[in-house]
């Protein structure tokens, strides 16, 4: 019930990063269409081959046209919740078996620093750092603004180590009111009061940590390779020899699809 369009020739780019993350190579799947799809004139040899499989649906095939993307995960190694201090490790769950695409210090260090993290170190396969809530809530990363120290000062009014809720007063200069309110809301805070350039708000520690994790993932995760799955050049050549189109059983298709993550 599905037809998969595979590249039959390599696209290349002299920039090795761009070549890997953006150029479709011979054997990479491109799009999936329903059985009986009328392909375009260019969606054929010499650029493409078509593999038909009546035993799989378009939905089932979509996983095979996914890119090989970073996927960072976090582990809290130790914590002092009363002080709001955590030791955290981050690693890339989509490094392959050979270690390709493991996390590097260069990949995340700048963003961890923006978020006020300290003690950043690398021990393969992870990066470890110290995450202090009070540092984080005053960081460039939290406020989404470079050099936030030049624009704001902060006072910690209270912190309940049981509930994890802190109350903070931010005195802000040269940032529009709606931008400040926007940031507090976006960051999961609740505005308590606002007078002039003083904003008092409360925020809960798990909200900060979740936001931090999401932001670092968002900012630093990249496409490592344009496709995660592929079929071999030999298999492509076989299809080319057969005229550019072949029909396979589900078992045959799955046997030909190779996953870069397991290599």
């Amino acid at each position: 019930m599905a037809e998969i369009l595979f590249k039959a020739i390599d696209a290349t780019n002299p920039d090795p990063d761009k070549d890997r993350r953006g150029c479709y190579k011979k054997g990479y799947p491109v799009v999936v269409m329903p059985d009986g799809h009328t392909w375009g004139k260019e969606e054929a040899l010499p650029k493409f081959i078509i593999v038909k499989c009546t035993e799989v649906t378009v939905e089932q095939c979509k996983q095979y046209i996914e890119s090989w993307n970073d996927n960072f995960s976090y582990t809290v190694v130790s914590q002092d919740a009363a002080k709001g201090i955590y030791t955290v490790r981050v690693q890339n769950d989509t490094a392959n078996v050979s270690g390709l695409n493991r996390i590097t210090l260069a990949k995340v260090e700048a963003f961890l620093t923006k978020w006020g993290c300290t003690g950043i170190s690398f021990t393969s396969p992870y990066v470890q750092f110290t995450f202090k809530l009070w540092d984080v809530v005053r960081s460039d990363g939290f406020w989404g603004k470079e050099n936030i120290d030049d624009f704001a000062s902060f006072v910690l009014n209270s912190y309940d180590s049981t509930t994890g809720i802190g109350t903070i007063t931010a005195t802000v200069y040269n940032i529009p009111e709606n931008a400040v309110l926007f940031t507090i809301k976006e960051r999961g805070g609740t505005l308590i009061s606002h007078s002039g350039n003083e904003y008092q708000f409360s925020i809960e520690r798990s909200a900060i940590f979740e936001l931090f994790k999401a932001d670092v993932k968002h900012r630093t995760e990249r496409t490592f390779c344009v496709r995660k799955f592929y079929i071999s050049e030999a298999d492509v050549n076989t299809v080319i020899s057969a005229g550019g189109t072949v029909t396979l059983t589900k078992t045959q298709l799955l046997n030909k699809l190779k996953n870069k993550l397991t290599e």
Partner: protein, 325 residues
Amino acid sequence: MANKTVTVKTSGGDYTSLAAAVTGEQLDLVTNTRILTIECYSLKDTATVSIDGYTTSSSYYIKITSPVGQRHLGIWNTGKYYLEPASGHPITIKEQNVTIEFLQISALDTNTAQYCIFDYISDANATIKIKNNIFKGPVVDSTPNSRGVYLYLSAATCVWYIYNNLFITFSGSAIVQDTYANQKLYAYNNTIVNSYRGFVRSTGDFIAINNLLASIGFTSYTYVGTFFTGSDYNASDNDDNIGIGGHNRVSQTFTFVGASDYHLNAADAGAIGYGVSDPGSGLFSDDIDGETRTGTWDCGADQHAAAVAKQDIGFLRKYKHYLRR
């Protein structure tokens, strides 16, 4: 090597999806001295598109368009080409020189945020033009924070021109210039309606001129952040002011042609004639319909019957879209 035009059609064309076209034509356009034009004809396209792997320049670039006769007429029309993936960002731009025009792109995933145009340019010196498109979001709400154009990564040496576009119903914002995006962004004559937020600026230079923002869900977030010198002549129907420029209009009453037709009605008193003419200094002279703007420009993507007494031909304007079908 000559310039090349390929088509995306349901049948009889070169490709049957924009994603396949962008993949099949990957090339060093500079070495091959080629402008690549991809023409999209009437169809529903559901494959996400990542524009990457090319080499481009300001002279040899990628242009994705709908040809004359195949274009939307300023109203969302499923009879024309529209890109509507169930999930994932419809178009991610990683190349430096790209123009996207006259497309309809929707981000309807109500679970995970989609960005109709997602800036993922890691190279310097990009020039991107996003014009005469219609972008449609899922709902008017704060979640899942879907966006029309999300400027996310491109650097200070990059320039984005976003003009003559219609943004409808975004649960996040119409245009976002994010924290680490330092590019210069020019937003001219866009119409934003029924979105949760309008324009959000964090770090780069955001110059907004002649835009029309109506029925923004979170009123005080019509304009978020400090906008750059030169921003002016924007109009909104709430009291949020962009904060720079002496000709912006707040608390206006806009009158559109219909409930889902955001062309300006002759009776409009909030946008017609309140823009500044030629804000882009020659960059463009048409409106979302591709019609030449004359006289004093209006705010928003549509130019109401120019150069002729508006009231006199208002009824023609009202029906022109039906007449053209």
